[in-house]
């Protein structure tokens, strides 16, 4: 019993995670939670799982933190050289295919699911999903990580082609927040990154400002505040 309670703080850092990438009319929005767990312990409650590869291409990382970080480091390095040689910004497709190469050719050793999203002048906003195994699939939206299990039904119902930037952002935040509500391995804050022809914008939605879902209650500083709110019967028998 005791052994379970202390948890395995030496277990590999994994991002049980919720990651999302959606296209909208003009660009893409990437979203993620911020929890990195080692076994049962939350090693980092404010991680940034949305990682920059180039000015116009970002990725969402899930699975093993180490594996996803090293893949993103290699691809950033390759893309940098590619950009120098090409003389113009790399396309999202090239970035995604570089990720695929690493993911596919090292499929026995890596345990990371990645969503690549960005904007380039040829194809506009694009999202590529690269799950375990190294399959590459271009999609209008992609979800990944352990929390995504709870979002398949949600997106089947809520997704629409050609949303505005605001609609898409709200959808992403709502979705990550719903996944956090049910997935123990997801939590913390919701981070979003919006990429379009004008550039890149980061947004931050702290955990205490997310909507409340079923069976969740409002947060307070203390019971005493509730008691003192001139309420005749705050404690029931």
């Amino acid at each position: 019993m005791d052994r379970d309670a202390t948890a395995d703080v030496n277990a590999p850092h994994s991002m049980g995670t919720t990651i999302i990438g959606v296209t909208y009319n003009g660009g893409v929005i990437l979203g993620a939670d911020s929890r990195t767990s080692t076994g049962l312990y939350v090693a980092n409650r404010a991680s940034d799982k949305i990682t920059q590869l180039t000015d116009n291409v970002y990725i969402c990382r899930s699975g093993s933190a180490a594996d996803s970080q090293i893949v993103s480091d290699y691809v950033r390095y390759f893309l940098h050289q590619h950009t120098i040689q090409l003389g113009q910004p790399a396309t999202v497709k090239v970035a995604a295919n570089l990720v695929r190469l690493l993911a596919y050719n090292n499929k026995n050793m890596l345990q990371t699911g990645i969503i690549v999203g960005g904007w380039d002048k040829y194809e506009g906003g694009k999202i590529y999903g690269i799950p375990l195994g190294g399959t590459i699939l271009e999609q209008p939206f992609a979800i990944g990580g352990s929390g995504s299990s709870y979002l398949y039904g949600f997106f089947d119902q809520a997704w629409k082609e050609g949303m505005t930037k605001e609609e898409a952002e709200q959808l992403v935040v709502k979705a990550v927040s719903l996944a956090i509500a049910r997935d123990g391995a997801s939590g913390g804050v919701v981070r979003t990154v919006t990429i379009n022809s004008e550039g890149v914008t980061r947004n931050f939605y702290p955990g205490d400002q997310l909507p409340l879902w079923h069976d969740e209650v409002e947060a307070h500083n203390s019971l005493l505040d509730i008691l003192n709110a001139s309420n005749p019967e705050p404690m029931s028998t």
């Binding site: 695929r100 190294g134 398949y152």
Partner: protein, 236 residues
Amino acid sequence: MDTLLSSEGDSQRTQYPYVTGTSIIAIKYKDGILMAADMGGSYGSTIRYKSVERLKQVGKHSLIGASGEISDFQEILKYLDDLILHDNMWDDGNSLGPKEVHNYLTRVMYNRRNKFDPLWNSLVIGGVKNGQKYLGSVSMIGVHYEDDHLATGFGNHLARPILREEWREDLSFEEGVKLLEKCMRNLLYRDRSAVNKLQIAKITEEGLTVSQPYSLKTFWNFAAFQNPTVGAAGSW
């Protein structure tokens, strides 16, 4: 491999499939080959992707369909791209037909199997060259053969009996499509990883066309389905 540096996984490297496609069904018909596949990509028991194209053109004369791990299929398509590219570079007026493509893939699959590092797919190659229709399959361990009608995965169990009964040498395009659809509908009912969005590809001497994605109607309105447990409460 340096035993100090390689991990224990390297010398015995059978992988596990992650994102998989289900059955492929293919038949010869009067003018060529017809092949059908749904557009599902399963991730274990989750139907994760519903727009995966599992039928692809290979050069001028061939069509390939794949079931199994999608990432390995994508890699095979890259190998085939190279193969066709180099064939074209000879610029000798000749081009690889389905029989040659089938043979090449058989060698690839079998050699990977021998290294305990298979490409986790079952492939179907079909095509027409110089009036000759060809239809062959290769499995992930290199088992290969040709036939008038083929199926992979669940299709082996559900589609083949139908094809054995109803296939004929001189099927028209319409009859062929109906036959494939009969098989695909059965797979929809009985294969857990089947998805109701499919494509049918046709290849003839003239060329290849892949249909737009479409869905099949299914039938549930049988009297026996309405109240199946009425005679034996608690049963299913």
